[in-house]
Amino acid sequence: MFRNTSKRYGLVSILIHWLSALIVFGLFALGWWMLTLTYYDQWYRLGPWWHKSFGTCLLILTVLRVLWVMANPKPAALGNRIEVIGAKLGHALLYLLLFTVMISGYLISTADGSSISVFDLFSVPATLTDLPSQEDIAGEVHWYSALALVILAGGHGLAALKHHFINQDTTLVRMFGKTERK
């Protein structure tokens, strides 16, 4: 039930997948919106606080996810050879972008040696600090990789819908724990 088999995704993989999707799109929306806030807005400080807290949670979740993927079998990708290769490349790129976005975000806030508070419960210390223009370069990388991530994740969703409605295979329903359509 919790673990994957070669036929179906287990509960852990499914929950991590949908939770990640929710956090990724939520953080993108929050990140975009909070840039429009001004000094006297209530959320001027709250926005970044939630953004960094959830971002750190997503980083932890994604590390656990990679470990879980490595420790579990994976249901075979459906479709023709081109689709299978495309899916593998797309998924690899999603992981790459996830880590790029999160690490660059971390490098903005910790560029001066400050730690990142996560829900005021614990702090993540700085590691790489004081590189030339660190917060500016990390900021550019953060924005463009986040943009690329949500575009690719959108394409990932469209591809799932294409599998469901055009190929009429089980790609999408598998992510809800089923092995058959209906």
Partner: protein, 193 residues
């Protein structure tokens, strides 16, 4: 004979020191004896300090004719440093210094007016360009000191203060009524060339 030699020596020294007083100085950013700092009020409750780490410049000064003094300074605005990476990133952006579009701030003096009552003080007028906007400013200057340094050079230093209204330089991000002005605090040491 002895007297004549002595007189000649004194005259020579006097001539030497006179010519030594009118001179060009390079601001000692290399040895880091020059600071362009600023302070701005936070919400009306405290002072926030920052500085520009990278700049260069020179000045010319003649103790016998201080009214001929002139100064040129170029500041690398991306070097703004308030000891807080997230804030510095914001300051470099479009809301404030716009450093990708306007990477330099410059000051070129136009005249120096020594105070009547205190010869060590005066007002330095000049054109200050920040965020692409040029305004005439008047810096209150105080001559701190001058003399030989322990390594064979000759140094001269000044301090200066000027209040800038941010809106004058198209910086209109709302930081509150207490933070409409920023005070520049300058501490400049030059090495005679």
């Amino acid at each position: 004979m002895k007297k004549t030699l002595l007189a000649a020596a004194i005259a020579g020294t006097a001539m030497f020191s006179t010519s030594a007083l009118a001179a060009d100085y390079k601001i000692d950013t290399e040895g880091q004896h020059a600071f362009i700092e600023f302070k701005i009020n936070h919400l009306g409750y405290s002072w926030l300090y920052g500085r520009f780490n990278d700049f260069e410049g020179s000045f010319s000064y003649d103790e016998d004719a201080p009214e001929n003094a002139s100064v040129n300074v170029t500041i690398d605005t991306a070097s703004v440093d308030t000891n807080h990476a997230e804030r510095d990133k914001h300051l470099r952006g479009e809301d404030f210094l716009n450093v990708s579009k306007f990477p330099q701030a410059t000051f070129k003096s136009t005249k120096y007016v020594p105070d009547d009552d205190d010869e060590g003080e005066g007002t330095l007028y000049g054109d200050f360009t920040l965020n692409g906007v040029t305004k005439e400013i008047a810096i209150e200057v105080e001559h701190v000191g001058a003399g030989e340094d322990p390594w064979g050079g000759f140094r001269r230093g000044f301090s200066g203060e000027v209040d800038l209204t941010l809106a004058d330089y198209n910086i209109d991000y709302n930081l509150g009524p207490a933070a409409k002005e920023v005070e520049l605090e300058l501490s400049i040491e030059g090495v005679r060339q």
